[in-house]
Symmetry: C2
Subunit: 172 residues, 2 copies
DNA sequence: GCCCAACGACTGCCTCAGCAACTATAGCCA
DNA sequence: TGGCTATAGTTGCTGAGGCAGTCGTTGGGC
């Protein structure tokens, strides 16, 4: 058994994937307590951080891991649950906005502190500041290489969006 | 707009997720050319690195991101495609092994070099050795915290499994 | 002003994966 | 030995999400 699988490259990827999976599981568990899925939380977050707490469906898709049809359905569910509303775009009758409702904002407010706590507890708090900086620096460089445009649904746009990077994609 | 979303913790997670998504997309694209999905590749890999190129269904589930029912179905598909076979376990008639066929090994051989090249190109090769070491070290520490048991399907076992960590889970 | 290609959202159909229920076997204990 | 519980694998049902096709709208070229 000539173990090709001990290759450090494989190990590196495995590490990355395990961290991702581990954190995702923690997030999912906490969000679940608040009645949110990971995607719903992401949608809520991206809308809440946009001007007017709203985004066109397409822009929302570009900012998430979803296709436009995927967005249609999440928004369906979240509208049904009262977290979001659709609003017609006055200047382009093809477009519509997804807007966070008061209930949606409240849900997000209830969820965020716990979410941050979990990140702190399982990720950022695990390393001393300088090790964390090194980790993030490495990640950033890799990210700049693979680029975020690889996200499904977006054609080629979205030049810089670090899940929390503000570029105000709303153009009504 | 008091931007809670610029919080460095959120940014850190965003970075991690973007890297994961970016790499995953590259992997998926390359594997797709070889007619494999990401899970199929993972299954193939885990089997190929196990003694006898085989693993019991349950152990396979524990080593992947799948539940046991998920494993049943992937193995169904891969068996249909001739990459795998089921073999009865002689000592426990409830169990069965998933075994990589010659065709499966060949497919893996055709796929691995390209896969490694992609890792090199978009991940490990993006950083000088010492930055990479720092990145991996950070990841390892976080991984040790979130622990791999968080992977769906495994109850609590799998003490150390770095996607490439050999602990030979086959116990026939 | 008219036409046509491009675009935004939505829907039908499909695949994938999880949970829970079910079957068959194993191993324990009286 | 006979029963009882735990375990391995499979299957029915369900929800999520992607692709491709549809419909209405837009905007540029003429």
């Amino acid at each position: 058994m000539t173990n090709v699988f001990d290759d450090p490259r494989i190990t590196a990827v495995g590490l990355l994937y395990e961290v991702h999976a581990g954190l995702s599981a923690r997030f999912a568990a906490q969000l679940d307590e608040q009645g949110l899925s990971v995607v719903e939380f992401e949608v809520l977050t991206r809308l809440a951080r946009s001007p007017g707490n709203q985004l066109r469906m397409t822009d929302l898709a570009a900012q998430t891991s979803l296709s436009t049809s995927g967005v249609t359905r999440v928004v369906d569910r979240m509208e049904r649950d009262g977290l979001l509303t659709r609003r017609a775009c006055p200047s382009d009758r093809r477009s519509s906005f997804a807007v966070v409702t008061a209930a949606g904002m409240q849900r997000l407010d209830e969820t965020l502190p716990g979410h941050l706590r979990i990140i702190e507890q399982w990720f950022t708090g695990q390393l001393d500041p300088e090790a964390l900086a090194a980790l993030l620096d490495g990640l950033r460089r890799v990210r700049d290489a693979v680029h975020p445009y690889a996200t499904a649904g977006s054609t080629d746009a979205a030049p810089e969006q670090e899940i929390a990077a503000a570029d105000g994609a709303g153009r009504p």
